[in-house]
Amino acid sequence: MVDVPAGPAPARITDSAWRVRTRRGGELLMSLLKNPTTVAGLVFIVLLLGMAIFAPLIAEPNTPDAYQMPRDWGALAVPPGSPGHILGTTNVGGDVLYGVVWGARTSLRLSVIVVSLTVLIGVTVGSIAGFRGGKVDEILMRIVDVFLSIPELIFALAIAAVLGPSFRNIILALAVVFWVKYARIMRAQIIHVKENEYVDAARVIGDSPLRIYLKDILPNSITPVVVQATLDMGNIVLVGATLSFIGLSEAGIAEWGVLVSEGQSGISAGRWWSSTFPGMMVFLWALGFNLFGDGLRDVLDPKTESTR
């Protein structure tokens, strides 16, 4: 958005051999682990992903659709510690623990789908723009600029509103909004990497452009995309939960934003649990990926250490 001079400098790897990169991977891990906040982020991520993956074991579903909240009409709004409801229940008897656990799975589903879609689209568009250059680049980048001109949440809100309230439409809306950053990052990377000697060398040998792209350019350009994708794993859940909170999701699904929204009326009577726990989960999820992504950026790209 802002024409900052340096821009994220691309990681330069002069030898693209696997061995070097794996060794570098080990070093990378070591330097990541040196930073306490990064480690904290990693711990959150591992715990939350564990929760999402093992959701059926932690909170066994008893409804036809496991992503729907099970309701216990015999125990409405009971406090944490009640028998059968460790974290209490919502106003309509939804088990908060179930919502928290399956909410992690919902979030994982949301973020994985959206991140894969957006990375795929963004990297493709960015690569075409960076690799081809010229008019194609100009047009694609103008489109990217236009997309970046609309604030993310507002754009997603408008798209989801036009499509109608449903979880599927939230996924669609987020995918439309989030791909542009990748396109921009990828293009900048490719333009830098393209200038490297090994690319020239490959060209001289007579490698096809596709081969050059796949073998020399892509692997050496992808690191900032990985960093951004890590951050977005958190941000997408945050924005998605906000859309749900505003009311663009479906009633009764195990999703954190929906639960916070439903739990609002309980807080006034001291029933803090049904919105506090799910809200905290959104926070921890986003925090985990942000802390880790931030540490990742510092390590992969020491020169532009945390300029954002």
Binding site: W73, G74, V92, A251, G252, A269
Partner: protein, 595 residues
């Protein structure tokens, strides 16, 4: 050098601003009688430092106005936190049960009003309730004479006469807006006549037992200022009047001041009111979520809030708050079966076998599936009961011995589904409801109840949408969903319920095509028609009792519950009276004071 000092200057400036703010706020929050003191402070207040001590001194009192306590908030104004934003304030346009009715009740008056308790009408703009005994109803029961009150003026200063009555009723029937309730008048009234300035005469199409308590006091029958209408667009058939929909001009104790959409509606005491004037000005806050309403009531910012059983527990026991939970509303919460849906309109994924809802056994089965205990005892916290199809408790003709659906009976329901031949095929139906209220809860109970059948082919999906979106769907013909949840409109007379909710050619009978579903539609039609014109109470009650039994076997609705009346107000509210037959929240604010 100079530039480097910038942030610290900015910080200093900000500090000064903050200090100023604190001083000012301390002044503003202190006792209103110190206005002079605070202005002096304000004007001498050139530097933050010099008044700092004053600020400290009064600072401790600052939160007092927002802290719950004995001191009354908002003196001089009664503040009510309502649920919905009205769509219109025009009696000719308002839909029964809609938020605008509440306002119309306060600003306009009718010839007769439902009294402070019970279903009986009392004089208002008419000075007497017509009866055969006082000679104001003709012997054949079709001609009604209303002697009118003299010396009444409208908020625009014009005097009230019989012409205004004729004009108002005629106007509603001429405009005949699709969302309005003009049918209440036009289905009953044959002709109207101004006898003299203060006598008005109505001739009905046929004797109607419900005329005095269901037609005359209805919001659509409110008396509007003829001058105001004619000065602002007049009456055009089939078109709403933009001025009147936002600027009510009536004779009621409150005069309209402003409508800030999405924020509030403001009213002032009408000085020229003919009766007992209102005690306080009125402000109706719009669109606060139940949570904000509860919090505002606890904080003392609101004097009364619109509440329902699903969250009334949140204010029970709060300091300075009184909660009432006596009696039942006359607006049963029901799930409608739409026999006339267009498959192309239905949401994706809906799968409904042909003739499904037309089969009385299927409708019975749904009535047996519903987990009434979960809804009434859990979700409504016990604030609710059951009523037979389709006469609520508290309405004339309700038969306590009539059979009602009040128990989940999964085995019998499965039997009926099997008998009707739909058990294996199953269904997938979206039930549409307004989000975040009791109706959504009822829909969720319904969904869970159907899940209890353990038949993977039977699926209910809850489509919870914004209120306006729901209202759109609900007002469409055909409704674009096969089932929907809402409550009934309140009426004072059983025939009004039956006409709306059971008559094959009635309001919902036509929209949902009851005729295609009733085992014997003509019999239902005949029974309801005869109940409407029967003036002898005992004979009428007997017909109504029979109807309740017929409709039990052939239900067109699933009545989740007859919701309990609940209300919550500050202790300082005086003279609290509520009648469930008044539009929600069933309060006339002019009767209330604070102190």
């Amino acid at each position: 050098m100079i530039r480097s000092k910038r942030p610290s200057r900015l910080a200093a400036l900000f500090g000064v601003l903050l200090a100023l703010a604190m001083v000012a706020a301390a002044c503003s929050d202190s006792d209103p009688s110190d206005t002079t003191v605070s202005t002096t402070q304000g004007t001498t207040d050139t530097t933050a430092g010099s008044t700092d001590t004053t600020a400290g001194g009064t600072d401790t009192t600052a939160p007092a106005t927002t802290t719950p306590g004995t001191e009354i908030s908002n003196p001089g104004v009664f503040v009510h936190a309502a649920d919905d934003e009205p769509t219109t304030l025009d009696p000719a346009q308002v839909e029964p049960g809609e938020g605008g009715e509440t306002i119309i009740l306060q600003v306009y008056e009718r010839l007769l009003e439902i009294g402070n308790s019970g279903p009986d009408p009392v004089p208002s703009l008419a000075t007497e309730v017509p009866s055969v005994g006082n000679g104001l109803i003709s012997a054949d029961g079709t001609v009604f004479t209303f002697p009118l009150r003299e010396g009444v003026t409208f908020h625009d200063g014009t005097p009230f006469t019989a012409d205004d009555v004729l004009f108002s009723w005629d106007r509603a029937m001429t405009m005949d807006l699709p969302d309005g309730a003009a049918g209440v008048l036009s289905d009953t009234v044959d002709s109207m006549r101004v006898v003299d300035d203060f006598t008005f005469e109505v001739t009905l199409q046929e004797p109607n037992a419900a005329f005095l308590n269901a037609v005359v006091p209805a919001m659509v029958s409110s008396i509007v200022s003829q001058d105001a209408v004619e000065a602002n667009g007049g009456v055009v058939a089939g078109e709403f009047n933009e001025f009147m929909s936002g600027n009510p001009v009536g004779t009621g104790p409150y005069e309209f001041v402003a409508w800030n959409r999405g924020e509030d509606l403001q009213f002032t005491i009408f000085d020229g009111y003919w009766g007992t004037p209102a005690f306080l000005d009125l402000r109706v806050e719009i669109g606060a979520s139940p949570d904000i309403r509860v919090l505002g009531l606890r904080a003392g910012d609101y004097d009364t809030i619109e509440a329902d059983p699903s969250f009334i527990g949140d204010v029970q026991g709060a300091e300075g708050v009184t909660v009432d939970g006596e009696g039942l509303t006359v607006e049963p919460i029901h799930i409608g079966f739409n026999l006339k849906f267009d498959p192309a309109d239905l949401p994706d994924g809906d799968r409904i076998p042909a003739g499904f809802l037309n089969d009385p056994r299927v409708r019975q089965a749904f009535n047996l599936v519903f987990d009434y205990n979960a809804f009434v005892n859990a979700a409504l916290g016990g604030f609710g009961d059951f009523n037979p199809h389709y006469i609520p408790q508290g309405i004339f003709g309700y038969d306590p011995t009539a059979p009602v659906y009040d128990q989940q009976d999964l085995a019998r329901a499965e039997e009926l589904f099997r008998e009707a031949g739909y058990w294996d095929e199953g269904f997938s139906i979206s039930v549409v409801t307004e989000e975040a209220n009791l109706f959504e809860v009822a829909a969720l109970v319904f969904k869970d109840s159907v899940d209890n059948l353990n038949n993977p082919n039977m699926e209910i999906t809850v489509a919870a949408v914004a209120e306006a979106v729901f209202d759109d769907a609900h007002a469409s013909d055909p409704v674009p969903y096969a089932m929907w949840v809402k409550n009934a409109d309140p009426f004072a007379d059983p025939s009004a319920y039956l006409d709306s909710y059971a008559l094959p050619d009635g309001e919902w009978g036509e929209i949902h095509d009851f005729r295609a579903g009733y085992a014997d539609a003509d019999r239902v039609q005949t029974l309801i028609d005869s109940a409407r014109i029967e003036l002898d109470p005992a004979a009428r009650a007997a017909i109504l009792a029979e109807i309740q039994r017929v409709l039990y076997e052939d239900p067109m609705w699933l009545i989740a519950a007859q919701e309990g009346v609940v209300s919550a107000r500050r202790d300082w509210v005086q003279g609290y009276i509520s009648n469930p037959l008044w539009p929600r929240p069933s309060i006339k604010f002019a009767l209330l004071d604070k102190g």
